[in-house]
Subunit: 461 residues, 2 copies
């Protein structure tokens, strides 16, 4: 029953609730598909088939369902701790012991009945956006072999697009959930800073890291977020949200008179013609649905400068986290990764403070924009996914990083396909804690745009 | 009528409202006293007598009073901009032009009718706690000539204690309002981070700076705060408070069953016998009023280590702010100040990140303590005010800095006099935005302790 892996989380939940399918069958279908094609996609670093099937059986045996995720197979980026499974963080062997406990976000998903298929490939240490991984191999973009799925959550984007799981977790420091979502033609959400606990997740930058879901539909993002979100009193970064859940929009939001901001500062970013064309079409669609476009200039905000500042802050913070491994396990790091960390370690205090202020200012400027608009729209990435053998564009995160700096929720959803046959991503950004509203708007766009599953790669695609 | 300068803000307001006194007479009494003794105290850098009297006349001419501060003479630490008056920041001449506009906190006080007497002496650049100022001379402690009033808001503490103003503003990055309040036997409040705008105030550390009032009574702190507090949408550091004012407690809070936390980690700080004795007496008094003492250990918190981390963060941030002046006006800096800034400028990224994490963790640990207690009590300083010719204790801010790291409101109020005849300060710390509650508790203690004005220094004291 190959159709099982085509089901969205919501549809799978409906079928499971109705008794039309079992979690066992669903998990087995994903495991079969992983066995058949993941040798080519390379989305997984670790597949936990045995425990997944056991979890599926438990789900099937439960008298009452725990919620929409009960029995639904998902997978996790390999920088998120799962009890009893190695966390590679996309690196070689290092000090990190096999975790004895789940990261709180994993514990929440497990408590919601989700079935954990395994751990997903990623850019080394989450510091980069190609998932061209020196230790675990390249994750392939299911749309075209030899093309990056993006990163750093590249395995997450590839796995969701290739139907190797129903949903995946990624992490996003400057765009690492949304970039692979856009490149792989799926939906990805970076929630409000602190809404989802980052404890038990290998940090890149404590102040910019977020955990978020990647799914094949916007509705699924909300179902995942409802299970993932919750205050973690043991985490310095966790924030007590003003409301208690209910982030999943139940229906598309009416777009009439919604003020959609377009950031004029993004004109300085070199955006490819196909992405720009797709974005203009998306804006036209939003306007045809009743939204009103409004151009905004954020004061003293330069996207390239701010992204470079965010990178420096990330390198400096990551250097502190990786210090013991750099001393004890130098082979766990590629040369590139090691030199980026050394750069962050050695940067002078005044440069780091300036970078921090630039990051904070960019976030402040973005948050203030919501005095004038309800939501901000932008392309997710300045270009579509590119071949591994081409130079990596430096500006990949220019359009996604500001939402990290601001702590604002941001969703990327498919908005079409380029002339070269690669997916285009539309990014919608809302004010802090506006997830329900933001996902409602995204659902409306998704419905109007027409949802199309990515092409289904076969073995040897 | 020398008795005028003995009035608290609240009593002055009552007398002004009743028509028993005029603002002109009140301002003139303070100006006369400044003329008589500030040559000895050296609390003021700039006295704006003419505009003060004009403001007093305006107040007297108003048909209806603007509130309790209307016509009350106050003074400002000289790192806070007042339109038309040089801001020295306790330094020599530098790039800072004469401000064209008031800092928002000053604009609020002006709008409340306060009369501005002038600008107060401070530790150079607010980076230090003796107010032994190379450019503007030493501010003296009104309790004993040759003894520091503390700092960095040393002029503020000295002026309030010596009745050279009815109230003063200071700034507090690691204790710079509370230290001089304790050393000078007056009350000082560091509000919740972001509650009072720090825009138009020369920064030391953007993430740790607070503006707060120093007064002769706790009730006066609340009257000042009500005028000072308010969201500043143009400030990155301003926070929209969950309530809208009403920070002045109208009456002492009942202490029955109030859980008073005592931080066990402070046992590692070298605290002098007289301060410890005074603190034990204050705790006994709180218990006799019905409060319950509870010892708390904050996990992974070392007061000395955290204070040093906060100092490093401040030096690094200040180095960025002062960079242009260091290039253009090296003589504006003492050698000590310049070398501290150079240290912060040149510190390596990994050390700065570790210091930032230490600061954040200390703040997190302190905030979490309020899951268990209603308020935390501690001595304000590890020792009483010391002579200028003695070595400066390194640990002066060990007990005050945590409230800055946590963003929590903290008040220092007199709790007695040491055997050597110098004032002792009790510090009470509350959770964010608990000012009204905290000031109510402090008022109860103040009433039980018995309020005593500091001794009145005469010329040549």
């Amino acid at each position: 029953m190959t159709g099982l892996t085509e089901l969205s989380v919501r549809d799978a939940a409906t079928a499971l609730a109705a008794g039309d399918i079992t979690s066992r069958a669903l998990a087995q279908a994903y495991l079969d598909r992983i066995a058949a094609i993941d040798g080519d996609v390379n989305a997984y670093i670790t597949v936990t088939a045995e425990t997944a099937l056991a979890q599926a059986d438990e789900s099937d045996a439960r008298a009452a369902r725990l919620g929409p995720l009960d029995g639904v197979p998902i997978a996790l980026k390999d920088n998120i701790d799962v009890a009893g499974v190695t966390t590679t963080n996309g690196m070689g062997p290092r000090n990190h012991p096999v975790p004895a406990t789940d990261a709180p976000v994993v514990a929440r998903l497990r408590a919601a009945g989700a079935v954990l298929l395994g751990k997903l490939n990623m850019h080394e240490g989450a510091l980069g956006a190609t998932t061209d991984n020196a230790h675990h191999g390249r994750a392939q973009n299911p749309w075209a072999r030899g093309v990056t799925p993006g990163g750093s959550s590249g395995g997450s984007g590839a796995a969701v697009a290739a139907r190797l799981c129903a949903a995946a977790l990624g992490t996003d420091t400057m765009g690492s959930v949304r970039l692979p979502a856009a490149y792989c033609g799926v939906a990805g959400l970076k929630p409000t800073f602190g809404l989802v606990s980052t404890r038990g997740v290998a940090p890149l930058s404590w102040r910019l890291d977020h955990v978020g879901p990647l799914c094949r539909t916007v509705a699924d993002l909300g179902l995942m977020l409802d299970a993932m979100a919750g205050h973690d009193p043991d985490s310095m970064e966790s924030v007590a949200a003003p409301d208690a859940g209910g982030y999943a929009a139940e229906a598309p939001h009416n777009l009439t008179d919604v003020r959609v901001g377009v950031i004029a500062n993004f004109d300085t970013v070199e955006i490819s013609a196909d992405v720009l064309h797709g974005f203009q079409a998306a804006l036209a669609r939003l306007e045809s649905m009743g939204a009103r476009e409004q151009r905004l200039t954020l004061p003293d905000y330069d996207p390239s400068l701010a992204r470079r500042a965010g990178l420096l802050v990330s390198e400096a913070e990551a250097a502190v986290f990786h210090e013991p491994d750099l001393a004890d396990h130098p082979a766990a790091f590629s040369d590139t990764f090691r030199s980026m960390l050394a750069y962050g370690r050695d940067v002078k205090g005044d440069r780091l403070v300036k970078a921090e202020r630039t990051v904070q200012h960019a976030g402040f400027a973005l948050r203030r924009a919501f005095d004038e608009v309800d939501v901000i729209a932008a392309p997710t990435t300045p270009q579509t996914a590119f071949p591994f053998d081409q130079p990596v564009p430096a500006n990949q995160a220019d359009l996604t990083a500001p939402a990290n700096f601001a702590g604002c929720p941001a969703v990327s959803l498919p908005c079409g396909v380029s002339e070269s046959g690669l997916p285009l991503g539309l990014q919608l950004i809302g004010p802090p804690f506006s997830e329900r509203y933001l996902l409602g708007l995204a659902m409306a766009f998704e419905a109007a745009c027409g949802y199309h599953l990515p092409p289904l790669p076969a073995a040897g695609f």
